[in-house]
C-alpha cells in the first residue's frame, strides 16, 4: 500500500514530531508510515484523515490505483 502522508503533512504545515504528538504515536511510526514500510491500523488511518480534513482513500491507496 502506498500513501501521501508526507504530502498532506507538509501541506498542513506539520512536522513529523507534531503529527506524532497529535496522533498519539511515536515519530518512528510516522517515519515508517511515510516510507511505506508500515501500514497503519484503520483507527490511526481514520484519525490521520480527520486531521488532514480528507478521506482515507485520498491518503492511502493500492499501488495499481495510483
Amino acid at each position: 500500500m502506498k500513501n501521501k502522508v508526507m504530502n498532506y503533512r507538509k501541506r498542513n504545515g506539520y512536522s513529523q514530531d507534531k503529527l506524532a504528538l497529535i496522533l498519539g504515536v511515536s515519530r518512528q511510526t510516522i517515519i515508517s508510515i511515510e516510507k511505506g514500510k508500515y501500514n497503519p491500523s484503520l483507527p490511526l488511518a481514520l484519525q490521520m484523515a480527520r486531521e488532514f480534513h480528507t478521506a482515507v482513500e485520498d491518503i492511502f491507496f493500492l499501488e495499481d490505483n495510483e
Binding site: 504515536v25 511515536s26 508500515y38 497503519p40
Partner: protein, 124 residues
C-alpha cells in the same frame, strides 16, 4: 544521560566481563562455556534494549507490532533450536549436562527474542 547510552554502556561492560571471564578461566585451565552464557545474554539484552529504548518509549501500534512480530519469528527459531539440540543429544554428537542444556536454551531463547525485535524494528 539517556536510556540508550546507559543500556549501551551496560552492554559493553558485560561484554568486557565476558572477555575477562574467558581470559581468567583459560589462564586457570578450567574453561567452562557455561560460565559465559549469563554475561553474554545480559550484554545482548542491554545492547538490544539500547537500540529499542527510544522506539519503545512510546507505546503505540508500531511497537506492539514489533513485539508481536519479534515473538512470532522467535517462536520458529526456538522450535528449530529445540529440534537441533534434541537431535544432537539423541545421536550423542553433543554430550552435555541437563544444567548446561537449560542454560544454553535460555541463552538462545532470550538472545533470539531481543535480536529478532531489533531486526523487525529495522525492517518496519
Amino acid at each position: 544521560m539517556n536510556y540508550r547510552r546507559i543500556y549501551f554502556i551496560l552492554g559493553c561492560l558485560f561484554l568486557i566481563f565476558t572477555g575477562i571471564g574467558i581470559a581468567i578461566s583459560f589462564g586457570a585451565g578450567e574453561f567452562r562455556i557455561m560460565q559465559i552464557y549469563p554475561p553474554t545474554m545480559i550484554s545482548v539484552i542491554c545492547i538490544c534494549n539500547g537500540y529499542l529504548a527510544p522506539q519503545m518509549a512510546k507505546q503505540d501500534e508500531r511497537t506492539t507490532f514489533i513485539r508481536q512480530k519479534g515473538m512470532f519469528y522467535s517462536y520458529f527459531a526456538i522450535i528449530f533450536y529445540l529440534i537441533l539440540l534434541m537431535s544432537l543429544i539423541y545421536f550423542n554428537i553433543l554430550v552435555i549436562s541437563a544444567l548446561h542444556a537449560v542454560m544454553l536454551i535460555t541463552f538462545l531463547v532470550v538472545s533470539t527474542v531481543f535480536i529478532s525485535m531489533v531486526v523487525v524494528s529495522k525492517i518496519y
